[in-house]
Amino acid sequence: MEEITRQWLWVIDLWGHEFTLNARTLVMTWIVVGVILFFVFLATRKASLVPHTAQNIAEMMLEAFKGLTDESIGERSQSYFPLIMTTFIFVLISNWLGMVPFLSEPTRDINTVFPLGLIGFVVAHATSIKVKGFKRYIKGYFEPFFIMFPLNVIGELAKVISISFRLYGNIMGGAIIIIVVSELVHNWLLPPFLQFFFGFFVGTIQALVFAMLTLTYISLAIHE
């Protein structure tokens, strides 16, 4: 049971201030980045008109997401497609990493997920300012009445909370359930199926939801 609360921290002393780094999350994020780089290297090496396996998978994913972004953003989709695609692949590989023994998902840590949500938030608002102009952007907060201003601000901030805590809660909850149930059945027969369900199924759906929500926030910022 102690896996749940076990921490692996690096404490760095800089000019009298203590900085705590979550070492497990950092190392796992590096592994994820390595896996993605390896996959992309495999996919783009000897790229040909008749695609080989890795290239085929990469092209399938890219085309599916290109269709989604084109559909919901429209003519500006070219500049937002890389962001959505990168978010999706990063979150997907992160969620899948929990299936590998001795490794854990970096998305299990709120410190990984919250900045990812924040990126989408900042991009959406920057887009909104760029498309509508600063005056209309500010005016959007006072719709439909003047009194609604605090509600609108809270609604915008709540988007970041909900998008990041959704991913964190799903992955963390899955990990805790795997540990607890494995303990209950004395690591007999059940854990691999649980790992597969929470790592593969829930992980894929949550990665898709995360990318789709980022896309939706951006397209809302453009079209409203």
């Binding site: 909370i161 909900s162 805590f165 959704r166 809660g169 759906i205 939801v209 929500l213």
Partner: protein, 99 residues
């Protein structure tokens, strides 16, 4: 039925101070509050999500060719319903922080 539930809840609330010899009962109540917060939110969120999924499936059953077009809006809708449950999760974390 509601009367009985209310009665039971008052019984629980009344019974708590009866053996409140130390502070541990107070922390127990805080833990109970966190658990109830996420439990109620999850129950009703699941009801709403079930309705959404059922309607989407009905649409797909009538017109199987539309399944590709229905899936994405359905997932977004489910995510938006789910976000209220996630606020409850955040509140449960905040309550747990008080222990």
């Amino acid at each position: 039925m509601f009367k009985r539930v209310f009665y039971t809840m008052t019984m629980v609330a009344m019974a708590a101070p009866a053996f409140a010899a130390d502070a541990s009962v107070g922390t127990g109540m805080i833990a109970l509050a966190a658990g109830l917060a996420i439990a109620i939110a999850a129950a009703f969120g699941a009801l709403g999500q079930g309705r959404a999924a059922a309607t989407a499936l009905e649409g797909i059953a009538r017109n199987p060719a539309a399944s590709g077009k229905l899936t994405t809006p359905m997932i977004i809708g489910l995510a938006l319903i789910e976000s209220l449950v996630i606020y409850a999760l955040v509140i449960a974390f905040i309550i747990l922080g008080k222990i």
